[in-house]
Subunit: 200 residues, 2 copies
């Protein structure tokens, strides 16, 4: 009711932000996402500020603690994953969309694993973080699966929670160097299983 802004980009306060502030903030999140992915969540904040082309003071004004920044990056990741689900569904056959999305889901898991360590403390206070994001993710997965089943591309006797459960092994797998490859094979294997007996 009282919203006055159309720019619904991620903003900490509902108050409108100055243009340069918004620009810098977006750039910081962008760079932080890349850097965390590449170097882990312990990456230097000064390095992130430098790569984003702003001073360290600016980074700290927007994100008072490292955890704040990590949380925003994580939420953005979830956002991207859910958005990708819609996009893939629009541009590919339902079963292909599902497979491509699951491949991307693997990356998300990797991120989540990395962040979980650094957010463990935060989670004790702000416990809604993981629960509501994982709700959104499984919602996205559900849409893809139902669409694929409705199109007869995969069997109809499974649901999102079954698939999520089948992917559970990714979570517990140790951080071996070939982790990613193995996860990719797991996804392919799972897709074969899903396709087998389609329209049956």
């Amino acid at each position: 009711m009282s919203d006055q802004e159309m720019t619904t980009r991620e903003a900490p306060a509902p108050k409108a932000m100055r243009a340069d502030a918004q620009r810098n903030r977006d750039k910081l999140v962008e760079v932080a996402a890349q850097t965390f992915a590449a170097d882990g969540v312990d990456a230097s904040l000064e390095e992130i500020a430098k790569r984003a082309g702003v001073g360290i003071g600016t980074l700290y004004r927007h994100f008072p603690t490292r955890e704040h920044l990590v949380e925003v990056v994580y939420r953005r990741e979830v956002e991207g994953l859910c958005h990708a689900a819609e996009e893939l569904a629009r541009e590919h056959p339902a079963d292909v969309a599902l497979e491509l999305w699951m491949q991307r889901f693997v990356d998300y898991i990797a991120t989540k694993r990395g962040l979980a360590t650094s957010l463990r403390l935060l989670l004790t206070t702000n416990s809604t973080l993981f629960s509501d994001t994982s709700g959104r993710v499984s919602g996205a997965m559900r849409s893809l699966i139902e669409a694929a089943a409705a199109a007869g591309k995969i069997r109809a006797d499974v649901d999102a929670s079954d698939v999520m459960h089948a992917l559970g092994g990714i979570y517990s797998a140790p951080n071996t160097p070939d982790w990613r490859d193995r996860s990719g094979r797991l996804v392919k294997l799972l897709m074969d299983g899903l396709r087998f007996g389609a329209k049956g």
Copy 2:
């Protein structure tokens, strides 16, 4: 069976330690305990090393992370508390011993509250830490209560878990400046309740 040492002082490895190493280690723990109590668990490690009269390198050799040091200090605290129970029981009438011990228990709680924050991360991996120490503490309390009850100094229809429960309020009380005083009054009040109806 294979123990070769009598010096059962807190030592990380069963291997005998060089005399100077042991000396420095003990001093560090001693100083760290004081400093953490005075300045909180975020106290500067370099400051602790300096006060202990050793180089920062020595501190890190003995305690690779801050958490290691905090944990050792905490265990020492528990040790002291349990030892105090025996000593007080030896030197005072049973009810006085119990009261004095509970006063000291208040300090222990304060320490534990402070450490809990910094150990929260550690606790997820090493979850035996709090469970086994609190087991020892409640054991000490039980001895004192049973002795006092057996001597007819306090009523016999309460046990350690009742008293622990009654002291629970200390835990949740906010960090007001008069926290300590109020806790002291709570202990006195509780003792009056325990004494009332003794030998009844």
